[in-house]
Subunit: 100 residues, 2 copies
């Protein structure tokens, strides 16, 4: 499996709008086993996205999906920047669910 | 929802043993919606654990469950330390599944 843990900063006041776009955009992505969008508890503009994919290629190909492309173009103006980013290799646990 | 993203360092050479204990220990935890254990891709001793709970209290109470207590006592000798830790408030996404 292939995993990403990443922090995104929204334009001030746009965090909820950005999260809505992100959650709508991720429906039915082949190979996506988990994709969770969260507030950072200490920064009112920050978002954490944690992702698990069956492999790195599925993540790469997801970026070309029509709904993802559309979400990216709508999200871009609401993104102020990016923070920490960690690549992982998930081994197991609870909440790994096939999608798309 | 309540979320945690945390890095753990295993005693050298004990990462797989530690992950096995962690994954076994998390079965049937009430209120747990996601609990994924992953290798760090750049540090051979590091583990990332990403968790989502229905609320903070469920996470707190999980630490008293018999299987979790047993896992903690078996895991302790294999843990060298802890790294980054981020508290989150998950909003939605894919892979949020009731357990326990």
């Amino acid at each position: 499996m292939y995993g990403l843990i990443g922090k995104m900063k929204a334009v001030s006041g746009q965090r909820d709008a950005l999260i809505t776009i992100l959650i709508e955009g991720i429906a039915d992505m082949p190979g996506c086993l988990s994709y969770i969008v969260a507030y950072d508890s200490t920064d009112a503009d920050a978002i954490w996205i944690t992702e698990v994919w069956d492999n790195k290629n599925s993540h790469h190909e997801s970026l070309s999906l029509a709904n993802v492309q559309e979400a990216i173009s709508r999200a871009k103006p609401l993104i102020a920047g990016f923070g920490e980013r960690f690549e992982t290799e998930p081994i197991g646990g609870h909440g790994l669910v096939a999608s798309g």
